[in-house]
């Protein structure tokens, strides 16, 4: 492999857990942060920090420059046409809610439909359930195939003249499935329907080009991208953003406020009410810069190698059922264990220093679809190694010996 995991950049990985070497296989829930990101935040807070936009003094100018430079970095990261199309939010979830409240809500009426897949994360489900509860919209669920892949014709078939939005994830946080996004967006656009992409996993593992995809909205979250908590991004086509009403109201997002009238700022500021996550934006820019020093294709190859290495060994254990083996998938391994519940497995793995997630992974609809209450999930980041996989396998055998 040409890619050597930069383990030393991540101080937390050097700390033993339960007396064992930490094998952190939970990056799909949240990634660990390289020192470069933490240092950038501290450096900024001890050098240039101030509130942004409204001040004329030196620190306000510096802070504003760095905050807006982060917006430009994100625009490049997604290949957006303009940094005006980048909105900073508090996380991927807020990005999707912003689309629901500011874009869809004023455009949807009783009986109108929203198309989404059964593998969506709750963050790409609940905002649309709100439209069902509050606007009497109808949710149209597109099933995934048995291997966890998404079938574009199935999406096409779900779209009707009443469809107001397609909501779909770039990559499933449970199955690892990578969606044929470009094809699905073309299908939706051919029927005049805009598409919002949940890129919370996709942005981490795939190279995103929102112009090439022609996505209407693309949401991602900072903390899974080796960046800080408290920040997310919504990309939105300028033509959409221009026509959208604000979501939250407060400082920064107004034009003029009088007692009985109000006007709003232009995008992206219209959608950034109040003091934004300033230090976090600097941290996110540092995370993007950190990633850029690597060949992202090499990272992906490395992660997929770990995934395959793990899957092949896990398959040999007769009491394990892997869920999600789409031909195009990222480095997430979910499985069910016969006669052992995921929570018990995870607890015993933890005793071995192996951190995995167990549960429904905020995807109850998908659990229902595969008829499981929960799965055990090992997910891989750029810092993982085969040693981590070996620890996982040893831990699984131990769980079996204790529990069965």
């Amino acid at each position: 492999m040409s890619f050597i995991p930069p383990i030393d950049d991540f101080p937390i990985l050097a700390k033993p857990v339960n007396g064992k070497r930490l094998a952190y296989l939970d990056s799909a829930a949240s990634a660990q942060k390289p020192k470069a990101v933490l240092d950038a935040m501290t450096e900024f807070a001890t050098t240039d920090y101030s509130n942004v936009h409204r001040g004329v003094h030196h620190l306000a100018a510096r802070a504003t420059e760095r905050y807006e430079a982060a917006r430009v970095d994100v625009a490049h990261f997604l290949n957006a046409k303009s940094s005006d199309e980048i909105i900073f939010t508090k996380g991927g979830t807020e990005s999707l809610n912003l689309v629901s409240y500011a874009f869809l809500s004023p455009r949807i009426s009783a009986g109108d439909e929203i198309v989404l897949t059964k593998m969506e994360h709750h963050s790409n489900i609940v905002p649309w359930h709100f439209m069902r509860e509050r606007k009497r919209a109808v949710l149209k669920w597109v099933d995934v195939r048995e291997d966890g892949s998404v079938n574009p014709p199935a999406v096409a078939a779900a779209i009707t003249p009443k469809t107001k939005l397609v909501a779909i994830s770039h990559m499933s946080n449970v199955l690892g499935t990578i969606t044929p996004l470009k094809e699905i967006i073309q299908i939706a656009h051919a029927k005049g329907v805009p598409v919002v992409v949940d890129g919370c996993q996709g942005a981490v593992h795939e190279t995103v080009d929102v112009q090439d995809l022609d996505a209407d909205f693309y949401a991602f979250t900072g903390h899974k991208l080796y960046g800080p908590t408290g920040i997310g991004v919504l990309y939105g086509k300028r033509a959409h953003l221009k026509t959208m009403r604000p979501f939250q109201g407060g400082g920064e997002m107004i034009g003029e406020v009088t007692e009985d009238k109000i006007t709003y700022a232009e995008p992206p500021h219209r959608f950034e009410a109040g003091t934004p996550p300033i230090i976090e934006a600097v941290g996110l820019a540092a995370a993007i810069k950190y990633l850029k020093q690597f060949d992202r294709a090499a990272i992906k190859a490395h992660e997929l190698d770990l995934y395959q290495y793990a899957r092949d060994q896990v398959r040999r254990l007769k009491w394990v059922r892997v869920i999600g083996e789409a031909p195009d998938k990222g480095a997430i391994l979910s499985f069910e264990t016969t006669a052992m519940h995921a929570h018990d497995v995870a607890t015993i793995l933890d005793g071995e220093g192996v951190a995995v997630r167990a549960g429904h992974h905020c995807a109850q609809i998908l659990m229902e679809r595969f008829n499981v209450a929960s799965t055990t999930r090992a997910s891989f980041g750029l810092y993982n190694t085969r040693e981590d996989v070996d620890a996982l396998i040893v831990g699984l055998e131990k769980a079996r010996s204790i529990l069965v």
Binding site: V17, N18, G19, M340, H341, A342, H343, D344, T347, I348, D350, G351, A358, G359, H360, Q364, M367, A373, S374, I402, L403
Partner: protein
């Protein structure tokens, strides 16, 4: 949280627990139940239903439970059905409180008889695993809401 040791793992998954989880007592539906409640642990997706018959003498004549869950939640449910059968609602309440204290590792589990304390003790290992406390308490919370009249179907018993 103290670091997990093999010892605490072995205590958590001790023989009695695994036996209860693999061979749960009083598992299945209960006809003519006077009280039922549905419990749900949103953190992991586990579900449980508790059925019981409260007799004319104020004692719990029968308890049964259904549902799937981890070893801890299954064992805890099974143990509970064993312990609460034959008790009055007030006695059951006292035991439940004692149990909740115990698994949270809180001091001062009082007012329980020595036998009860000893039986409960097999669950004490949970207190070393804070993220598993909800697994252990699910059945008991559901029992509580059954005795209080049963939870409405859209409001499952809380797990903490």
């Amino acid at each position: 949280m103290s670091d997990m040791t093999d010892d605490s793992l072995r205590e958590l998954y001790q023989e009695v627990i695994l036996d209860h989880s693999k061979h749960p007592r009083h598992f299945g539906p209960l006809e003519h139940a006077t009280h039922n409640a549905h419990g749900y642990n949103p953190l992991c997706g586990d579900r449980i239903t508790v059925h019981l018959v409260l007799g004319a003498d104020g004692r719990i004549a029968h308890i049964k439970f259904e549902g799937r869950g981890c070893a801890i939640s299954q064992a805890s449910a099974s143990l509970m059905t064993d312990m609460l059968t034959g008790r009055t609602a007030a006695e059951a309440e006292k035991l439940m409180d004692g149990f909740l204290h115990l698994v949270k590792g809180e001091e001062g589990v009082t007012g329980l008889g020595d036998d009860d304390l000893e039986t409960l003790q097999v669950m004490a290992g949970v207190s070393a695993f804070p993220m598993r406390v909800k697994c252990a308490t699910l059945a008991w919370h559901t029992m509580k809401s059954a005795l209080e009249g049963g939870s409405r179907s859209n409001e499952p018993a809380k797990t903490e």
